[in-house]
């Protein structure tokens, strides 16, 4: 596997990679103590697609998302983004079957920089202004400060917060903070965006602005995995909806079929409760 996480959508990609989904998750299992959170997840996400993860709380949606950028280490199975194993290096040279070696922290860090993540609680750095939040990742990655600041200005404009460079998180509403968090995640030009319940901590009237930004992002062709409870949003934006229950995928497919006529009993009950 020599294909690296290069800048998004370059034309020079090989035909082999184009046929591969951007994200491939196979046999993913994760336990917290004796509790099995993920129980053998297989999932593909194609380039430019939006995948929405649905399911009751505790079904493993967030854990699955956090495995994609290695914030959680899976117990078995693997995650591959753009043909590159996340968090591990495969060594097949031994006689007694192959081994997955954990990557040094520095390399995991490099992989994470190409995957943007947005959290339920925003997690903006409280001691930094919006601008400083957005440029931090770029500066750490060696982008010249001047260029990082210019990018940050464009991103703030894109999320509807032009001119708010100097605001501290506490001086902004939840919706504004979340939009800065999205700008921060976009600053490193990620190839994949992960959203972990991005609107769950917001007042109802602020949800719309954040969803609008995510919708624009989807329209621009960004590949995204979104954990959400906004069914209407899923119906409108998702290319595929995946329903999790008890650490397993019980239903998946285009939103029209999964959301309208789910075949699995648990999915039907969940949708009846949230709609």
């Amino acid at each position: 596997m020599s294909v690296s996480l290069s800048a998004a959508g370059g034309p020079a990609e090989t035909a082999a990679e184009e046929s591969l989904p951007l994200v491939r998750i196979r046999g993913l299992r994760k336990n917290f103590g004796s509790h099995r959170v993920l129980d053998g997840i297989d999932l593909d996400v194609r380039e430019g697609e939006v995948t929405v993860l649905l399911g009751p709380s505790g079904s493993g949606k967030s854990t699955l998302l956090r495995c994609v950028n290695h914030l959680e280490k899976p117990d078995s199975g693997f995650v591959e983004v753009a043909g590159e194993l996340i968090g591990y290096r495969y060594d097949g040279s031994r006689n007694h079957g192959g081994r997955l070696h954990e990557l040094p922290h520095r390399q995991v860090t490099r992989q994470r920089a190409r995957i943007g993540m947005v959290f339920q609680q925003f997690n903006l750095f409280g001691h930094m202004t919006a601008l400083e939040n957005i440029i931090e990742g770029q500066v750490a990655a060696g982008v010249p400060r001047k260029q990082a600041v210019a990018t940050a200005g464009e991103l703030l404009e894109r999320v509807g917060l032009a001119g708010r460079e100097g605001s501290y998180p506490r001086q902004m509403s939840g919706g504004q903070q979340q939009r800065v968090a999205i700008a921060r995640a976009l600053a490193l030009q990620p190839r994949l965006m992960l959203f972990d319940e991005p609107t769950s901590a917001l007042d109802p009237e602020l949800v719309g602005d954040v969803l609008a930004v995510i919708r624009d992002l989807a329209a621009s062709g960004m590949t995204m995995i979104v954990v959400t409870h906004e069914i209407g949003f899923a119906r409108e934006v998702a290319d595929s909806v995946v329903f999790l229950d008890d650490g397993r995928i019980v239903e998946s497919g285009p939103p029209a079929s999964v959301l309208t006529s789910p075949s699995h009993q648990r999915a039907r009950a969940f949708l009846a409760a949230v709609l």
Binding site: R112, F119, F125, H127, G137
Partner: protein, 333 residues
């Protein structure tokens, strides 16, 4: 909800009027009187006036003598030793403390236990006992050597020559300060939400950078006040080095009054210097706290100034309570 719009509230709902509404609306608000507060204030003020009067008029304070010795050469040398001893112990102790805190929070069980054990042991022994222990260390280990563990020794030195009073004082106090700063730093780091370092990890920041740029600055608001307290405590605690004949501020004063028996005025000289230094440190602490509080307030303007806090503290018994509380709440929000 429609109740958010005041117009909606009025529409379709008639208000019931009563005859005295007008009078109630125009009446002036009178705050409740608290005679007890005034009585308490007068009693305290009288006692305070008596104290000031006796300090000024009692000739046995010998303020003239205090003035004569205030900038005396040997006292200045003692003051200098107190200052650099405090600075050296605090810098080394605090760095050691950061290391101990990092060990305590690491995933390595050996480092974790070592740090815990160190803090437990050092906090259990009074600083005076530690000081005497280091001063007498030569009786335990007559010579110290540098070499390969359990192997060849390169350099050997007589402990009694190495551990003079000053080094014993420095080591004893540093060991003590390291234990206390370790706990302060650990508390500060734990006060930073887990989500902050997770977000930083997701952004692809390295471990060192996360600690330096994300966690530590946000731990500082919890670390600074406690450290200021520790530093002021240390400044005064350096006076215990006088028991092992290190010539600090207090010992210099003692040397003088053992010859001329002007005990009280000379103790006043030392006291005044300690008060001055503590005041300077408190002012420094105020500015450091204000620096690290950035991003903590909702309004971007300057917060309450030094004088406002001082005045607020002085005037609070006289009806400033409400304003102060509101300010503090705004600061918390």
């Amino acid at each position: 909800m429609s109740s958010q719009d005041p117009e909606d509230q009025l529409i379709g709902r008639s208000l019931v009027a009563r005859g005295d509404d007008e009078r109630l609306l125009t009446a002036r608000l009178v705050t409740s009187r608290r005679p007890g507060q005034w009585v308490g204030a007068v009693v305290v003020l009288v006692l305070f006036a008596m104290l000031v009067h006796t300090v000024v008029t009692n000739p046995r304070f010998q303020w003239g003598v205090v003035g004569d010795y205030f900038v005396n050469g040997s006292i200045m040398r003692g003051l200098a030793l107190t200052l650099w001893m405090t600075a050296a112990v605090m810098s080394c102790g605090f760095l050691l403390g950061i290391g101990l805190a990092a060990m305590r929070l690491s995933s390595n069980p050996v480092l974790r236990s070592l740090s815990f054990g160190y803090v437990w042991l050092v906090r259990s022994v009074p600083p005076l006992v530690q000081l005497l222990f280091w001063y007498e260390i030569a009786s335990l280990y007559p010579q110290l050597s540098l070499g390969i563990p359990f192997g060849h020794e390169f350099v050997t030195v007589k402990t009694a020559h190495l551990f003079t009073g000053i080094l014993a004082a420095f080591v004893g106090l540093t060991v003590d300060i390291a234990a206390f700063s370790a706990e302060i730093v650990r508390g500060g780091i734990l006060s930073v939400e887990r989500g902050q370092s997770e977000a930083a990890e997701a952004l692809g920041l390295g471990r060192g950078r996360i600690f330096r740029r994300i966690v530590l600055p946000q731990a500082m608001p919890a670390i600074v006040p406690a450290t200021g307290n520790l530093l002021i405590g240390l400044l005064k605690a350096t006076s215990i080095v006088s028991v092992i004949a290190v010539q600090d501020l207090l010992y210099s004063v003692q040397l003088i009054y053992q010859q001329n028996f002007l005990i009280m005025p000379l103790l006043m000289v030392a006291t005044l210097w300690y008060i001055i230094l503590t005041t300077l440190l408190s002012i420094g602490q105020y500015f450091i706290e204000r620096y690290y509080a950035r991003g903590k307030r909702r309004d971007s303007g300057p917060g309450r100034g030094l004088w406002q806090i001082a005045l607020g503290n002085l005037l609070s018994p006289f009806g400033q309570h409400r304003g102060r509380t509101r300010n503090d709440l705004a600061g918390l929000a």
